[in-house]
C-alpha cells in the first residue's frame, strides 16, 4: 500500500515533534520573563525535553539531533560554546542507558531520575564553564537554575505526555 504524499508529510511532521518541542523549550528558556533576575534557567527547559524524549521516544530524537540543539543553544548564548551541548548530551546519554530502569515506572521515580541526572549534568556544566572561563564561577545561579528546572519538571513533562498522546500515538 502506498501512502499518499499528504499522509507521508503528516507522519514526517509528527516525527519532528520532539525536536521542535526541544527547540521551543530552548528559545522559551531565553525569553526575558517577568520574574526576578536569578530565575533565568539557562539550558534547564531543554534539559527536561531531552530527558523526556530520551526515555520515551529516543528514536525520534537521535543523539546528533541533541547535539545540534545544544549547539544552537550555545550559539544563542545559553552557555559557553560546547558546554550547553555537553550538558544536553550527558542527560540524553544517561537517560537512554537507564531507559529500562525508568520505563513504565511511577511518575515520582522518573522525576527522581531527572533529579539525579540533571544534578550531575549541571555540575559537569559548571566545572567545564569554569574551566573555559579560567576561574571558578559563582555556583549559586547554577543551583537556582537547577532547582527551578526540577520544580518545573512535572508541568512540562505533563505537557509532553499530552503532546505524545495527541500526535504520536499512531507513529
Amino acid at each position: 500500500m502506498r501512502l499518499s504524499f499528504l499522509h507521508r508529510l503528516d507522519i514526517w511532521a509528527r516525527n519532528l515533534l520532539p525536536f521542535l518541542l526541544t527547540l521551543l523549550m530552548l528559545i522559551a528558556g531565553t525569553l526575558p520573563l517577568p520574574i526576578p533576575h536569578f530565575l533565568s534557567l539557562g539550558p534547564g527547559l531543554a534539559l527536561i525535553s531531552v530527558y523526556y524524549w530520551g526515555l520515551h521516544r529516543p528514536g525520534l530524537l537521535p543523539a546528533p539531533a541533541v547535539f545540534v540543539l545544544g549547539l544552537l543553544g550555545d550559539l544563542l548564548g545559553v552557555a559557553p560554546l560546547g558546554v550547553g551541548t555537553l550538558v544536553l548530551l550527558l542527560v540524553y546519554a544517561v537517560a537512554l542507558s537507564q531507559r529500562r530502569v525508568f520505563v513504565a515506572q511511577p511518575f515520582l521515580i522518573v522525576w527522581w531520575g531527572f533529579m539525579m541526572i540533571a544534578a550531575g549534568a549541571m555540575g559537569v556544566g559548571w566545572v567545564f564553564a569554569s574551566l573555559v572561563a579560567g576561574a571558578a564561577l559563582d555556583p549559586n545561579p547554577v543551583i537556582f537554575a537547577y532547582l527551578i528546572t526540577l520544580a518545573l519538571y512535572p508541568a512540562i513533562a505533563d505537557l509532553f505526555a499530552r503532546a505524545q498522546r495527541a500526535f504520536l500515538r499512531a507513529v
Binding site: 531565553t30 520573563l33 520574574i35 533576575h37 550559539l75 548564548g77 559557553p80
Partner: protein, 292 residues
C-alpha cells in the same frame, strides 16, 4: 539457519558499536567546540551572529506579549498605591528644585572654568535604544540580546545603559541583533574610578549579582557607600557613567552593588562615543562596518 542467526547477532553488535561510536564522537565534538569557543575565532563569532540574527525577529515577537503582561501588572500595582506615590513624588520634587538651582550654578561655574583652561570637551554621544529580546542571565552566562544591530548603527564596544546606570558593553554586533555582555559576566572587565577619591580600578564580574573591584591603587581607602563610575582609562568608555556603590570591602578589593535594576530591563540605551579603545581591538570585522 545458524549462519543467519550469527549474522543477525553481528549486525546487532555492529549497531551497538556504531551507537557507542556516535556518542564518543559527539562528546569529543563538544569538547572541541569548547576549545574553539575559547580561541575566539572569527568563525564562531560569525556563526553566533547568523543564529542570533535569524532568531531575534521570532524572539522580538514573543517578548512583546510578555512585556505587555508585565506592564499591565505594573500598572495595576501602581494604581493601588497612587496616593502614597504622589506624596513621595511631591517631596522629591521639592528636593530636586533645590538641586536644580545648585546644578545651574555649578554648570555656569564649570563653563567659565573650562573657558579659562581651554579644556577640550568630550565628544557628544549618539545613542540607539533597543528592546531586550533574550535574557541569558542564567546559570553559565550573563548576557542579553537586543533587537538592534549594525544596520541601526551599533558598534562593538558601545556602552549599554539604563536610566539607573551602566549595564554592560556590546560584545558582538550582527545585522539586526547584538549581544550585550553584562557587568556581572565572568568575562566582563570595566575600567572604573571611585568618584570620591579618584582611585582607579577594574570592575570584574564573576557571574554573581555583585561584581568585584580589582587592581585598586595601593593605599586607596574605600568606604561602603562610595560611588563607582566609569573611567576613561584605556579609551574604552566615556568617563563618569554611574555604575554602582561599594557594598563591602575586604583584603582582595571590594564588592560593588550595581545601580541597574535587572528585573526591569526591557529597553537598553546603547551609547556610541566613537571611542576606539582596547575593547574594539582584535574584532573580527573592522569596527563600524555596515555604517553608512
Amino acid at each position: 539457519m545458524r549462519l543467519r542467526g550469527g549474522s543477525a547477532l553481528r549486525l546487532a553488535s555492529a549497531k551497538a558499536w556504531l551507537h557507542r561510536f556516535t556518542f564518543v564522537l559527539l562528546f569529543g565534538a563538544s569538547l572541541a567546540l569548547m576549545v574553539l569557543g575559547k580561541s575566539e575565532s572569527p568563525i564562531v563569532e560569525r556563526a553566533r551572529l547568523t543564529v542570533t540574527d535569524a532568531v531575534t525577529p521570532i524572539m522580538n515577537g514573543l517578548s512583546r506579549p510578555l512585556a505587555s503582561i508585565r506592564q499591565a501588572y505594573d500598572n495595576a500595582r501602581e494604581f493601588l498605591d497612587l496616593r502614597e506615590e504622589n506624596a513621595a513624588l511631591r517631596e522629591q520634587q521639592a528636593r530636586l528644585v533645590q538641586w536644580q538651582s545648585v546644578a545651574r550654578q555649578l554648570e555656569a561655574e564649570n563653563r567659565a572654568l573650562r573657558d579659562l583652561l581651554k579644556f577640550a570637551p568630550d565628544r557628544a554621544a549618539s545613542f540607539v535604544t533597543a528592546r531586550v529580546v533574550a535574557d541569558n542571565g542564567g546559570a553559565f552566562v550573563r548576557s542579553v540580546l537586543v533587537a538592534a544591530g549594525s544596520r541601526d548603527g551599533l558598534r562593538k564596544g558601545d556602552a549599554a545603559v539604563t536610566g539607573e546606570g551602566l549595564v554592560g558593553r556590546v560584545a558582538e554586533v550582527g545585522e539586526r541583533s547584538a549581544r550585550v555582555l553584562l557587568l556581572t559576566d565572568i568575562n566582563s572587565r570595566i575600567p572604573v574610578v571611585i568618584e570620591r577619591s579618584r582611585d582607579q580600578g577594574i570592575l570584574a564580574g564573576d557571574n554573581s549579582d555583585n561584581p568585584r573591584l580589582l587592581y585598586l591603587s595601593h593605599g586607596s581607602q574605600l568606604v561602603p557607600g562610595d560611588r563607582v563610575v566609569t573611567s576613561a582609562a584605556g579609551g574604552a568608555f566615556p568617563p563618569g557613567l554611574p555604575v554602582g556603590v561599594v557594598k563591602s570591602t575586604d583584603t582582595g578589593g571590594a564588592v560593588v552593588e550595581l545601580f541597574v535594576d535587572w528585573d526591569h530591563m526591557e529597553y537598553l540605551r546603547l551609547l556610541d562615543y566613537r571611542l576606539t579603545g582596547v575593547l574594539q581591538g582584535n574584532s573580527a570585522e573592522p569596527a563600524g562596518a555596515g555604517l553608512p
